[in-house]
């Protein structure tokens, strides 16, 4: 009897020491700072990342769904847990207590199960499906003047292909590919391709809808913009469109969410949301093509 009590006390002590002291201390230790110096906009921590989509669009439904689900889960778990702990205490084996094998009518649990099922149905039909339909089907129309671009993934880089001022993408083919100077393989003979922009940072104007066609050159990647709740696998052989809109300027991160090889972890790109004017200036400059390289000055 005594040894049992000691084990219980010791366990509680370890639990308190571990979960109460050691781990919070560790949790404050964020010494391994990232190795690059890009200031991200917004507040990141143990909560959902900032959401820079306009109110009423699907990224906010995603957030509210996550919120509601977690409140629901906590309520369910706590209610369930109270019953669980009550049973453990009340019906522990002891002198003068005997089990009662008479069948129990557990009406409450049946009702609870029905309520849970109805609530799940509501979340599914009321929130999830409309949001998904918005992701998949409610693409901005041409009147809304969306920005079109292509996202081409490769090991281990995101390439962004803008059509340039003429609004038409040049033909691409692996035959023209050059990793240093023509990473997308744009046909040099195609006049539409002359002003195409190849970038490794995603520049988008603020408050304007964007349609991006996601594809991959080699393996499966996943195009993820955390702050816009966008995640779409980039699958070779397919070109899958996504749409999004940002209403806050700043620097944000784009990540690869699908294991794509040894450097998957560093397949990161910057998303720069800027005012239309700034964006236009960048767009015009980038469409001119790369600058000439002055050997005498720079090469060694």
């Amino acid at each position: 009897m005594n040894s049992r009590r000691y084990t219980a006390i010791a366990s509680v002590l370890v639990a308190v020491l571990w979960l109460g002291f050691a781990t919070p201390l560790l949790a404050q230790d964020t010494a391994a700072a990232p190795s690059f110096d890009v200031e991200l906009t917004g507040d990141y921590g143990y909560h959902l990342p900032p959401n820079i989509a306009p109110e009423g669009t699907y990224p906010h439904t995603v957030d509210s769904l996550i919120d509601i689900l977690h409140y629901f889960m906590v309520v369910l778990f706590v209610g369930w847990g109270i019953f669980f702990v009550y049973c453990l205490w009340k019906f522990r084996q002891r002198e003068g207590h005997k089990a009662d094998a008479k069948p129990i009518k557990a009406k409450a649990s049946k009702y609870a199960e029905i309520v849970v099922a109805i609530f799940e149905a509501f979340l599914l039909i009321g929130l999830s499906i409309p949001a998904w339909a918005s992701v998949r089907n409610e693409f901005p129309t041409e009147e809304e003047n969306p920005l079109h671009l292509r996202v081409v993934a490769e090991q281990f880089q995101w390439n962004f292909h803008y059509p340039g001022p003429d609004g038409v993408f040049g033909k691409t083919s692996p035959a023209f590919l050059d990793l240093a100077t023509n990473i997308l393989g744009i046909d040099p003979a195609d006049p539409n391709g002359k002003d195409d922009i190849t970038a490794t940072e995603l520049h988008i104007p603020v408050n304007r809808k964007v349609i991006a066609d996601i594809s991959s050159k080699d393996v499966i990647h996943s195009f993820a913009i955390g702050v816009l709740r966008v995640k779409q696998d980039a699958i070779p052989g397919m070109r899958i469109p996504v749409w999004f809109e940002a209403n806050r300027t700043g620097n944000y991160e784009i990540s690869c969410a699908q294991l794509c090889g040894n450097n998957h972890y560093s397949m990161r790109a910057l998303m720069i949301v800027e005012d239309q004017g700034v964006f236009d200036a960048w767009y015009a400059k980038a469409a001119e093509g790369p600058e000439e390289f002055d050997e005498d000055e720079l090469d060694d």
Binding site: P34, F77, I104, W132, P236, I240
Partner: protein, 579 residues
């Protein structure tokens, strides 16, 4: 079968190439426990890199060699290999063989009053094929480029273009799948054919039911993966393009398969074939665990399992539904609204039988007389842990919330709650519970309790933080979480998780000690130390070849505890009621 007892078998036939289900069960058990621990060690290595990215691994870093640890720092390739091998070893070489191969093999024939499995030689073949598969997996660490490093899901084209380790992985998987198929056929036939007289289907212990449903899942879900594995092998070595689309450019060069450019295949096809196995696989991992927990709860509450029939029906329904939910792993491949709606709906539906089983197990506690011995502690903690695992499946099953949570640590937290403090706790519960049957001795309660409490703390310390960092957007399978500026504030939580994992590792030492010491020095106990009702406890401990001294006859349901005014509060299935 009983005439076999008269033959004096050689040592090798008796203990190595044995066809006795009990010996095979023990072989499975020991092998799988070793693999489980090995798989866990791989994770402890990975957690170093996550907690202290790019820092030299103390002591071990130098020992593990320049190939994978240049300057004592783990390479990303090796990190990815560890990830694949951790997943594969834990699931296919650890947990499933323990649940099905060890407990299923040892306990199930005893519980149905059979002298052995229907096909003892098939049973032996199943174990040896499994061991071959395991050896191939382990050997793959030593091939050029190391073990497979394309994720345990092995998505092509990455897996097709990966290093040689991937070929070994596929071959290993083909062995493991074959082994499971042989086992599942054997289980189904045994349960259907070899039940003792009077043991009707609805007098079967829930554990046997869970094994039956699991066997059907294995039988029906594994062949597609085996076929897919062979196709991927062909893509890798024969130059076919089953999973390779047109125009692949790898490292700036067009991919040539054999002599012709790749093309004509579809990488998504693999995902469908893979998840068609891998979702039922989740229920392969959880159903027998529920079976074990059910047995132990009934025994230690000293009252019948509440809602035996609903539980059985739920597990059958669960098994059936598990075949039509697989694509909820693939929402973000670009799935359309109607298809995603279908899979989200089936996913919500499948949560209902799980809730029914869990609720039934909790209600079984009500008005019981609960004994808190070590198996019961593990079985009880299975309930809230599995509940957390199950609940956190909801946001992943709804396509909209999955957009944000997909491929984050939230997913890792979710399925580890199901499998680690869930299933693995059930496994520990089973080990402590049936140990006296296997050895005739009991494991130490004191060491068992230390093992339990430390494991409980370690498990929660390791997996709870994953939900927080997952919601914050930290992606899984990242070699260096510090590569993203957005993760900067999360690194502390990652560290906490790592330390908890290492503590969990230390927490297994009392178990290992307890396990081996008890084999030789454990307290000797009677044939039925837990005062249980099911048939395995009517056989001597350990049961002889052929299991029962007299062929058992069954007179009643599996959990007749405290049901009448007998002197004992339990009424074993094989005892005839006094006139």
């Amino acid at each position: 079968m009983s005439h076999d007892e008269h033959h004096e078998l050689s040592f090798i036939r008796k203990y190595v190439f044995s066809i006795d289900h009990k010996v095979i069960g023990i072989q499975y058990g020991i092998t799988a426990l070793c693999f489980l621990f090995f798989g866990f060690c791989l994770m402890m290595l990975m957690r170093w890199q996550l907690a202290y990215p790019g820092q030299e691994l103390p002591v071990l870093g130098k020992l593990l060699g320049e190939e994978f640890f240049p300057g004592g720092v783990m390479t990303p390739d090796f990190y990815n290999s560890l990830g694949v091998m951790h997943g594969t070893i834990m699931i296919f070489l650890g947990v499933v063989p323990l649940l099905v191969g060890a407990f299923g093999n040892y306990v199930m024939p005893l519980q149905i009053g059979a002298p052995d499995m229907s096909f003892p030689k098939l049973n032996m073949a199943s174990y040896w094929i499994y061991l071959c598969g395991g050896c191939v997996m382990l050997a793959s660490f030593f091939v050029p480029g190391g073990a497979a490093n394309s994720g345990w899901t092995a998505y092509p084209p990455l897996s097709v273009t990966a290093t040689t380790g991937q070929t070994w992985w596929i071959i290993g998987m083909v062995f493991l799948i074959t082994s499971s198929l042989l086992g599942s056929v054997n289980f189904i036939v045994t349960i259907v054919q070899l039940r003792a007289k009077g043991l009707t289907m609805f007098r079967l212990p829930f554990f046997v039911w869970s094994q039956l449903v699991t066997a059907f899942l294995l039988l029906l879900a594994f062949p597609p993966l085996e076929a897919a594995g062979v196709l991927q092998l062909a893509d890798r070595v024969l130059g076919t393009s089953f999973f390779l689309p047109e125009g692949l450019v790898i490292s700036g060069q067009q991919l040539v398969q054999g002599a012709v450019p790749s093309g004509g295949g579809n990488p998504i096809l693999w995902q469908h074939l893979f998840w068609f196995l891998a979702h039922p696989e989740v229920y392969v991992l959880i159903l027998p665990a529920m079976g074990i927990v059910g047995e132990i709860i009934a025994n230690n509450t000293r009252k019948p399992l509440w809602g035996y029939r609903p539980i059985v029906y739920s597990s059958i329904f669960l098994g059936f539904m598990s075949f039509i939910v697989w694509a909820h792993h693939m929402f973000i491949t670009g799935m359309g609204t109607s298809l995603s709606m279908f899979f989200a709906t089936t996913t919500m539906i499948i949560s209902i039988p799980s809730v029914v089983i869990l609720t039934a197990l909790v209600i079984s506690l009500y008005k019981g007389s609960i004994r808190f011995n070590v198996p019961m502690l593990f079985a009880l903690s299975f309930l809230p842990m599995f509940a957390i695992g199950g609940l956190t499946g909801l946001p992943l099953g709804l396509p909209a919330s999955d957009i944000h949570l997909h491929d984050t640590y939230y997913v890792i937290g979710h399925f580890h709650y199901v499998v680690a403090p869930g299933t693995i706790f059930a496994i520990f519960a089973g080990v402590y519970y049936w140990f006296p049957k296997v050895t005739g001795r009991r494991m130490s309660e004191g060491l068992g309790k230390i093992h339990f409490w430390l494991s409980l703390i370690g498990m929660n310390g390791a997996f709870m933080p994953m939900f927080f960092v997952g919601i914050a957007g930290m992606l899984r399978r990242g070699y260096d979480p510090a590569a993203y500026a957005a993760n900067e504030n999360l690194l502390g939580m990652v560290k906490m998780s790592s330390w908890s994992v290492w503590m969990l590792g230390v927490a297994q030492l009392p178990f290992i000690l307890n396990f081996f010491m008890s084999i030789v020095a454990g307290k000797k106990v009677s044939a039925n130390p837990w005062e249980a009702t099911t048939l395995e406890w009517s056989a001597p401990s350990p049961p002889p070849h052929g299991n029962f001294e007299a062929v058992p006859v069954v007179y009643r349901g599996p959990y007749e505890y405290s049901t009448d005014d007998r002197k004992d509060d339990f009424f074993p299935q094989h005892l005839q009621a006094e006139a």
